[in-house]
Symmetry: C3
Subunit: 183 residues, 3 copies
């Protein structure tokens, strides 16, 4: 009798686990990281220090200055050092590499698509993110859509804050990554 109950329950649950549409509640993250990254845009005179460059712009704009009109249409590629604190000169633990495109006509918002490539004693692997960055808001959430290495198949949310900026040339972002799917 006990065995029959067990079998019934077993198969019922197995069926439920595999076929119900997934509806999950948000609990504590299974992994958590805080990183800083540092972006210095090429302006025609800082080739040695620059970590990013404008590579596309609407008709008539040049590539050494972000456009007026909220930079709409500027595509920037970046190769930014990633540190564990807010000091540009701290030992980097990896790079943030990819692109952003200013995609709003009446405020400063960018489409962000990039990877964190981490290479340190604590973390080896990449984290792929994509999302919307309305840069004037205090915090912005973007999606972690995948990962490799230590972050194999992970998903989660990266919360970005502008930690500092100097005009259009330097800015520093603080990012807090909470993974809700770990493997």
């Amino acid at each position: 009798m006990g065995a029959k109950v067990a079998l019934f329950v077993f198969f019922t649950f197995f069926a439920l686990c595999s076929t119900f549409p997934l509806q999950r509640k948000q609990y504590a993250p299974c992994k958590h990281l805080v990183l800083f990254f540092h972006d210095i845009i090429y302006n025609g005179r800082n080739a040695l220090n620059a970590t990013s460059a404008i590579i596309a712009a609407p008709q008539g704009a040049n590539l050494t200055k972000l456009t007026n009109n909220f930079h709409f249409g500027n595509l920037v590629v970046f190769d930014d050092p990633v540190t564990l604190d807010n000091n540009l000169h701290s030992e980097p633990v990896g790079r943030a590499q990819g692109f952003y495109i200013y995609d709003t006509k009446n405020t400063y918002t960018a489409y962000l698509g990039f990877n964190f490539a981490l290479n340190s004693a604590n973390h080896q692997g990449t984290i792929t993110v994509a999302g919307a960055d309305p840069t004037l808001k205090k915090t912005r959430d973007i999606s972690v859509t995948g990962g490799t290495g230590d972050f194999f198949m992970h998903r989660g949310i990266a919360t970005i804050m502008t930690d500092a900026f100097e005009g259009d040339v330097y800015f520093r972002l603080r990012v807090e990554i909470k993974f809700y799917e770990c493997w």
Copy 2:
């Protein structure tokens, strides 16, 4: 005895849920949206109305006209109003913002990467999508790879239809989003 059965079943299922490779069947979506968005490409003369702009093209092409050759190599950034019906002048519930790149040499297909940023009484949050848009097909499926706010960690499929178009300058897309992972 009952307690032992319960414990056995409990741990057996827990192990199964957490370790089996995921193989799911497709059932009803856990959330469902229908949206329209409206794209007006900048052509050199419509700066005030345009919601998008060509920002990159192959060697020799200009940025106020999509190339011949199926627009291969044109990168367009957009900031399109999103409405609940097919009227461009309805009250927007958000924006569709991001880019597409025509990436086929013998037909009209684009790589689509963008976010829906919804901001209305019913929905607050972003939906991140990526995928292939073979624009001549009646319906095209692209992937929802993540989300934030009301769409925290969601995944699903966005089915796009061209609802109307006028030459190369205006088009309207209907998109039906079915989420199969909700949180």
Copy 3:
């Protein structure tokens, strides 16, 4: 009594399955593919054969030659044939379409964002990938972030190897895709 045990176990498991943060172990993939794709970059003289084109570059660079400085800032759009073996002239089973952006200043690494659009007797559907491609490494893992058709809602890892290359104009990639979430 047996019924009460069953109900208790039932609801306990249901609660566990739906609310625990996901922590999974890596097991065998639920689906597995090996593909090859072939990229011929437009260099100003091979318009008929070329499958890709440089469409953006930093200030001062032209669009028919990858830049020095590890191609930093070059954005390439591609429409590459996909085959089941390493022969460019084998019957294609689909296309690999999308873009890459060289995003590193001291080595050859690209952000990759593209779709496999498969159309053969064995596979119908798209696979969307994104990730970092440090091209000098023997193998590189990038994330499968979604899919449609036969690959509806799939996730996994695509492992890329450079199978052959000729200067900056032709290269062939072998990609092994392991899906760990199937539907």
